[in-house]
Symmetry: D2
């Protein structure tokens, strides 16, 4: 279902070319100051059109509160935000409906929903919905307080310098992917549960809702396959649980151990590449050549860090509420 | 919580040195033939003591049905299986309680449960509980019918030949990790949902409940970071959605596309290494040297394939029930 | 949480005097025709201002679809409807904030949300939110097809004739309550589960979300306390499970038995009575006399039938999806 | 599903004539003292065979802990209890399988599970499973501490004196029902949520899992239908929210208001009456005369109070955990 979380619970809705996309957060503690201004930084970080290689589609993208906020303070009731879709050009999509785009959800959405899906701009599968995740993340970060969640790009098209990686795409007239890392400091030990709600389980569950993510690893991650146990184990230094190394990425037995939480995700290259591609045409029942013309990012990975931070912050807010580390009513 | 799934719902319980570990499956369709014999193959695959490098602890490990099976047929009511813990040597653990083992859950369990945790043999965090997952997997596989779920070892300690990898551990008197791959054929297109229950989300959620897993990737996975979009996109060949390549690993937009489902996980080296390690001693409040003596695997990855298959089968059973591809009452 | 249902899942949000109230339904099958016109009848039935004794507050109350509907057909993605709050007079409420109204949620909302609640017009506790339930019910009824859900007033202020009961209120310048009955025909046998999701459990859970409901009984209900078993038991007549009497109200062992589903609820008298009442004043810390002046119904029970039908329809849609009696994709 | 609760979560399993019935509680706080002795009082209260009119079937019924308790203290991991079925006489049931007993779940279980149900002694539908609820209640009551949950019989067969009511059954050679009331003192204000988890919603959801319950009312309940608003409203006396009357039964707007929580349930007469009854015979496809011979209670209502207390205590434990009024780790 389109729902995630237990005590900080997200319900997402909307399609790329509908009137709005939105999200309801149930379980937001009462008494948190919340204004539109709080959203500017993260909403801007997510936006395309600023950096070269990102889509020119622009929307103001500020949340319109429908509920849960009163006099700029959260009420404790469900908080619903809408993000209006203003700048849509549906004509781009309708004429190509018979030709499912490779790497996109066109084909699977058609199979799943029997052809009734809103196919315009990816519909409910669109990256557009990540603006809702970012909105929820702003609220989550507010209640995380001194806990810091920071995601950044590790590489684009294999280059540590994102500009160099993006240049590869521009030169090749193709799209590229990348790797994004997220680090969280200030977490208490003891969050998560071994079965089935390990911290890795919950984070990965949420993270794989971000379109284009195809892998995740914690701490040493896949490199652990080539390490000895004596090497991978993090020596415990003192009663706080601080460890000498952090190959576990801050999670042991599925539970936070009080060290920095570290994980990385891989973002596949944008499905919409300027290159011509072969696909199937439902109408003609033949192979067809597709050339995606719309406004698209050459590298969606560039926009992922703030989305990754956001879903991580939501997972952590939920975990901290579960462990009673966050109060359900703020002290005004 | 210690629960997973929506319509094929697992609730796991038990500790390594308690009377038994067990699992309740709620939502098992009625009318499925189920006998103890059905469990032998997978239970044997999971057992240690057979291959060199795995723990000599042996238990018969056959499920004892408490409910949900009548006359060797599932009833549709919750199915509970117990797996008795017969061969436990608690003495091995109690004397070292003040010294949390690096890489183990000792420290985090203590923090989380305030010192009330059952610390013997890892307690509720023990790999012992994976026998319950295997048991649930046997039931899940029964209802998957012609769908095939197969996991196998890709590498141990960096060696494609598991024996060579394990020899590295024996030579070094240390533990090692590995990479395990899972492939599923016969799945229909259309399983999963974009937010937040993508197939990647659900599989990874379940998979990270298996102790020692630290990363997962679907299809091309992390290699996608260095691919162009035109290269990564899988050309659609015909109306069935068959694709020329399978870099997506059978999942697009979070939804199965009818191609083979492919993913890999990394298994960290066994935390219990024969090597001496530095850790902290709660009693003396000093650093201490720990040498793990108990019966342990040098490479837990060798036992992971059947567990990985099992949790994957449970996730798929749940998804197929959600999409009404599996009947809730079998035709006797 | 503000969520109900498993496969037909409601998430409600909004406050009486916010911009809108709304509801998201996750799990609506794809392919169902849905237009604004479909809502007119039930929305009108719920409205005040038509009958004497109901509030003069009037709103057009037609749903504004945000998602999940495309070309007047459901898409299978989450369906969000907003109902705008146009005709609000907040001034009525703010001046009386220090004086919690007896029978209203003013006091408990203040305790629960630490004073941060939106107190205008009852905020999130307002009967206004039942318009969302009615909206969801319209969608649910669409997928129930030949199943009929009908609620009607059994008595108002003890009178079988609602007009006579309401006249009692008018004469006494006080508010009154009543009893509403709901009957469902066409249900298959086998819905529900003994623990903990009996049909009685699920219906009562949903029904007690309707403000002012204080009791529910199924079939013979409380009268069963004075019956002999031989009298209460419904003799089974044939292989369809048809029974001679229906004291069970169509539910045995928590499961539908294929007979008519029958239950009744009691609606307390409207809390906002024109009569003066004693209450407490937070500011003065003394007892105070309160006279409710706003626009209110003398008998909220008159508006309950359509709301009761609606939540019942939602519960049944969920149950029928659980039992695979409703398809997740309609045949266009 | 066979699960209830969010943070104090019950999963029930077992059949009347299987090896055992049992329950897993997930979310039990760590550090609570728990011994078999703690269960004696409530288990004894539930037992038949003591009073006239209750079934002579006797079992020791003490819980066998499988997990979650270590050194007589809860660990915080899932707590599973088994209650063995020792004294079963399945022969009583098998010969009458073709004749579904009126008022029993025989017919609906057959319809729901396609004939694969364990039909012996009611199988998973048996009142036997209430011993699990009582077991869970003992744990819940432990964490409720100074909160008192007390249920008692209001009437049997219309008589305030239970003995007189039962005598009616004995005289008539028939079974009878009754009304049971539950009162809870010491609850804080602010528990519950308006949509959809009102306290009435959650309590009724759990209560209707108890076999034979057919109605529930809170506070004045059905009597409210004949009251004026000025009469039903409870005047608020002071800043604690204490009210002069308690027609609301301690719940306003779905939320506890700090006053005594009061509700009543109706228990239908035992379905197994000694009287001959007409039913249908599947084998002969004709009407048949049934005479129930097994060991049965003439008035199941006599055993309901402790079960009602137990499920209420579980609901309250869950609510108190949700509102962070109960710690997840006890101070040893």
């Amino acid at each position: 279902m389109n729902t995630f979380g237990r005590l900080f619970r997200l319900s997402i809705f909307g399609e790329s070319h509908g009137p709005a996309v939105g999200i309801t957060i149930d379980g937001v503690p009462a008494g948190i100051s919340l204004r539109s201004d709080d959203f500017i930084t993260d909403i801007e970080r997510r936006k395309g059109g600023v950096q070269k290689g990102t889509t020119p589609r622009q929307e103001s993208d500020m949340p319109i509160f429908q509920s849960g906020v009163f006099n700029d303070i959260t009420t404790g009731a469900p908080l619903t935000m809408l993000f209006e879709n203003k700048n849509t050009r549906s004509g781009d999509y309708e004429k190509q409906r018979a030709i499912p785009r490779p790497g996109h959800a066109d084909f699977v959405a058609h199979q799943k929903f029997g052809g009734f899906e809103d196919y315009r701009g990816g519909g409910h599968f669109s990256g557009r919905l990540t603006v809702c995740l970012v909105g929820a993340g702003v609220v989550a970060k507010k209640i995380l307080q001194e806990i810091s969640v920071q995601a950044s790009i590790l590489s684009i098209a294999g280059e540590a310098d994102p500009d160099k990686g993006l240049q590869k795409a521009i030169d090749a007239k193709d799209s590229v992917g990348g790797i994004v890392e997220c680090r969280v400091t200030g977490l208490p030990a003891g969050l998560g549960e071994p079965f089935f709600d390990s911290v890795e389980s919950l984070i990965s569950h949420a993270v794989f809702a971000i379109p284009a993510i195809k892998g995740i690893e914690f701490g040493a991650g896949f490199a652990a396959a080539n390490m000895f146990g004596s090497e991978h184990n993090d020596a415990i230094l003192d009663g706080t649980g601080a460890t000498k190394t952090n190959h576990a990425g801050g999670i042991v037995g599925g539970i936070t151990n009080g060290n920095e939480l570290v994980f990385r995700v891989v973002v596949k290259p944008t499905s919409s590449t300027p290159k011509e591609q072969t696909t199937y045409n439902w109408e003609t029942d033949t192979q067809d050549i597709l050339s995606v013309k719309g406004r698209h990012d050459l590298c969606i990975a560039l926009r992922v860090p703030v989305v990754l931070e956001s879903v991580t912050a939501c997972v952590l807010a939920d975990l901290l509420l579960m462990e009673q580390k966050i109060k359900r009513v703020w002290n005004g």
